[in-house]
């Protein structure tokens, strides 16, 4: 309904039967957006993840996005302590976590207060009346309870004392009232699973495992899950609240799993390592939000040839990665804006000495510390232009959580093939968002084996491969290839220090040509949706993919002549990009920054591209892009 609006069907037996034994009717929905919201301590992320799992198993397409409070552990009951998990699932292909909520689960007043504005008119709210105590209302700055005044009139409210219902359900396990109430997230999950006709077996099984050993806790959670489900199943639900049916999405056959951008990025790096034939990946980093999860994930992949190094700062991390590449491993370093800023001098050294290096930049809202947990796309200039001197690097960006896998492999391929640093631009949204991923057959993935120089005869450290312009990778330990490299300008062949003006001019040109030459090695820029020419092209990059795609899709269903182009290769651009954009009358460039890609497109192709810029630390809402499209046409 979030996208196509409701479409009730006759309460046919079939539909009725699918609704389980209750004999109650179910409305059919193409897609639904549900948000679980409560206090940081209420286990909303857990409930959300389980709902996601069951939904995936039920064959829906989906997209999820968690939202944590900025504070480590904010006081209970406060608005800034609210934690939520949003899932958008459906039979149609789902590309974003959704603009508007259809269902909001609010386990305390603060959760209601913070989230109700995102609920569509007519949407459903499940509240735990047991948590609407005077104290909690006060903490959320409610004068009167929203359940008593008329403020929730536009919505369908399901007020249930979930706390009490949970305690009843787990009475037998003799837990303290406090511990008993803990599992109310499972009660709410149970009800939601019933409401959307999802199974609960995987969750039951998982709970068993998770709390194994913890006396009674596992059972209690399972009991309250069942109770919540049963509550819907039985007639206890107000008839005004029907169950829903969201039929399977038509996903292409194969093995699937839900992945966050962080996971698929980590796996992509390791997969790239294998395809390169290199033995070891040295991942050197320094913790920073939202980049840390990647470091944590890599730290658990030691058995795949990954060595992680938590350095004393970002400079040391970048330097250690460079040292590792110099010694023949794949050096990778990862950070976010302020930390990337610190790495720029070292990256300049990698450009000068022409060593492979993957730099993962997880963008967040800035400037300076900014809003560390919020997403933004404003570090493109930093990646492309942010160094002293003419210091070109390759810059690429994944479009979706699953896409991170492929783009991470590309980063490894380009860094090793061209002996150059490669920036991979992720962001806070991609890092945390998740979606189903069609797991590839790893053996069928393209290989791009690296060959170290070993032959002493005719070896010169800067004698280049005529095709790629890459210099040979001569690794310490190789007899007969002893040589010196450094940051002072190098002779175009021997690599010895050279202050010769013409040599410097030539080296500068070669460094630029090498990076520009990568374009020959890149897929041509395609069109995601629509024709490859016409009235309007909506051109984006990075994590805005879903919103842009959906906005263009909707505009096209309204008959507008608009296409979606999404750029994954930002430096160099795909070689047909200018010509492709030239076939559109207008070019609109939505970005979560003040206008960076649009600036690059204007200078590169002299086209009057216009920006649609939103810098609020949040993803685009589909509707905003949709409106901009309408205005542009």
């Amino acid at each position: 309904m979030s996208e196509q609006g409701p479409s009730t069907v006759s309460r046919s037996g079939a539909a009725g039967l699918r609704g389980g034994n209750s004999g109650r009717s179910r409305e059919v929905r193409d897609s639904v957006v549900v948000r679980f919201a409560g206090d940081s301590g209420d286990g909303m992320q857990l409930a959300g993840t389980q709902f996601t799992m069951e939904t995936a198993l039920a064959g829906s397409d989906l997209a999820t996005f968690p939202d944590y409070p900025a504070e480590i552990r904010a006081p209970a009951g406060t608005t800034y302590g609210v934690s939520s998990f949003q899932i958008h699932f459906g039979s149609v292909d789902v590309k974003t976590a959704g603009d508007e909520l259809d269902v909001l689960v609010a386990l305390n007043p603060a959760a209601l207060k913070v989230n109700v504005s995102h609920l569509r008119i007519g949407g459903t709210i499940l509240v735990d009346t047991g948590a609407f105590t005077a104290r909690n209302l006060a903490k959320a700055d409610y004068e009167v309870s929203p359940l008593e005044d008329n403020s929730l009139a536009p919505y369908q409210v399901i007020p249930l004392d979930i706390s009490q219902l949970t305690r009843n359900a787990v009475a037998e396990f003799g837990l303290s009232a406090k511990d008993a109430t803990r599992s109310r997230n499972m009660w709410a999950l149970g009800l939601m699973l019933w409401m959307f006709d999802r199974d609960k077996l995987a969750t039951v099984e998982w709970l068993g495992g998770k709390f194994a050993g913890k006396e009674g806790v596992g059972e209690a959670n399972i009991a309250s899950l069942n109770a919540g489900h049963a509550f819907g199943e039985t007639v206890e639900m107000p008839a005004s609240i029907p169950g829903y049916t969201v039929s399977k999405a038509s996903l292409e056959p194969g093995l699937y799993r839900t992945v966050s951008g962080t996971e698929s990025l980590a796996w992509g790096l390791v997969s790239g390592l294998r395809s390169s034939g290199l033995k070891k990946l040295v991942f050197a980093s320094y913790p920073i939000t939202p980049a840390s999860p990647l470091l944590h994930t890599m730290a658990r992949m030691k058995e795949l040839g990954v060595v992680t190094f938590q350095a004393e700062d970002e400079i040391a991390a970048a330097c250690a990665a460079i040292g590792a590449s110099y010694a023949g491993s794949l050096g990778v370093t990862s950070s976010s804006g302020p930390g990337i800023a610190l790495k720029t001098e070292a990256i300049g050294l990698a450009v000068a000495t022409e060593l492979p290096l993957v730099v993962v930049s997880s963008q967040r809202a800035g400037p300076s510390t900014g809003m560390p947990t919020k997403t933004e796309q404003a570090d493109l200039f930093q990646a492309v232009y942010g160094r002293n001197s003419d210091t070109p690097v390759a810059v690429i960006a994944p479009a979706t959580p699953a896409d991170c896998f492929h783009i991470a492999r590309e980063a490894v391929r380009l860094a090793t093939r061209y002996m150059t640093p490669v920036f991979l631009l992720s962001d806070a949204y991609l890092a945390n968002a998740a979606e189903p991923w069609h797991v590839p057959d790893v053996d069928s993935l393209e290989e791009f084996p690296v060959s170290f120089r070993t032959e002493p005869d005719g070896f010169q450290p800067f004698l280049r491969d005529p095709e790629t312009l890459a210099r040979p990778w001569a690794v310490p330990g190789t007899p007969g290839l002893e040589h010196r490299i450094g940051g002072i300008e190098r002779d175009v062949h021997t690599g010895h220090i050279s202050y010769d003006p013409e040599n410097h001019a030539e080296m500068t040109r070669l460094r630029l040509d090498k990076i520009e030459g990568i374009a020959r090695d890149l897929p041509l820029q395609g069109v995601e949706l629509g024709e490859d020419g016409g009235s309007l092209a909506v051109v984006g990059w990075g994590s805005t993919y879903g919103s842009l795609y959906k906005a263009v899709e909707r505009a096209r269903t309204k008959g507008l002549d608009v296409s979606h182009i999404h750029i994954r290769y930002l430096s160099p651009f795909p070689r047909n990009l200018g010509e492709l954009l030239g076939r559109f009358e207008r070019v609109l460039v939505p970005e979560l920054n003040a206008g960076q890609l649009v600036t690059m497109l204007r200078s590169s192709y002299l086209i009057p591209a216009e920006g649609l810029n939103r810098v609020a630390g949040q993803p685009f809402r589909i509707i905003d892009v949709e409106l901009a499209i309408a205005n542009a046409l």
Partner: protein
Amino acid sequence: MEDSQTTALKAKDFASDQEVRWCPGCGDYAILKAIQKTLADLEVRRENTVFVSGIGCSSRFPYYMATYGFHTIHGRAPAIATGVKLASPELDVWVITGDGDGLSIGGNHLMHTLRRNVDLNIILFNNETYGLTKGQVSPTSRKGTLSPTTPRGSVSNPISPAAVALGSGGRFVARSIDITQAHLTEMLKQAHRHRGTSFVEIFQNCIVFNDAVFSEFTDRAVAPEAQVQVEHGKPLLFGADRKKGLRIIHGAWELEVVEVGLSGVTEDDVLVHDETNRTLAMLLASLEPPEYPMAVGVLYRDPAPTFDSQVLAQVESESEGRGLEDLLYGGRTWTVAG
């Protein structure tokens, strides 16, 4: 490029084809000679030896060696060398740095490398100035030093490289002097032998911007009286006729200079050097002429497991673990039927 080596190498075989370009008379020449000799004596292989340096006159060093060499950026050599070791622990990695490179901009990397005990040989050329940038004060410059940035004299207290290394948990800390070839070569060999971070401070004369700052204890004439060469298990004796010694002031935490023979002092009163005692090493590092002799030699040595070996042990211990497939296909997956 030099050809792979077959027979034992001589010092000159470790010299690259590049013209050495330090100022005539610079102490760096002597250090270069000593290191080339050390490598020859140690019979190491050129291809397994890497010199990593930062920026400074001293950091030009790698260009003059026929081994692998990486002239990096200012202050970051220890971090880059750490990466080299994590990639290839079998390599013999030397870090060449200066008092500015290693203690000013690079102080933090030096400190953390020492604390982690990465298996590197760190050689710090201390000339108490920024040579390459034409003579500004460095963290080791003494108070009152006149320089282009301190026309009225520096007001900052200097730090002692050896003391910083000890304070950072360094497990091999030695000192030598550019002009004492034999001693210097010996210290370099000991540093090479030690597993973990070996730190060697070398007093090096910058003839152009800071000539003779160390003459107080390096001048041939005064050296015997102004230097104490410490050796584990040996009494801390010095002086031309080795009649001077260092003695503990009992009860206090200090040392005093005594004359053996005078006022009933015997050799037994002289403190015996214990290179495994960090507190003693700290005290020795802090001694300064004219009151005290300058202590050179291995001030501290107490080996411990290296960072690189421990990190890689964790990796290897898991290496028979899951493969990429297990990771991708394992866990919570589902299948969409065709």
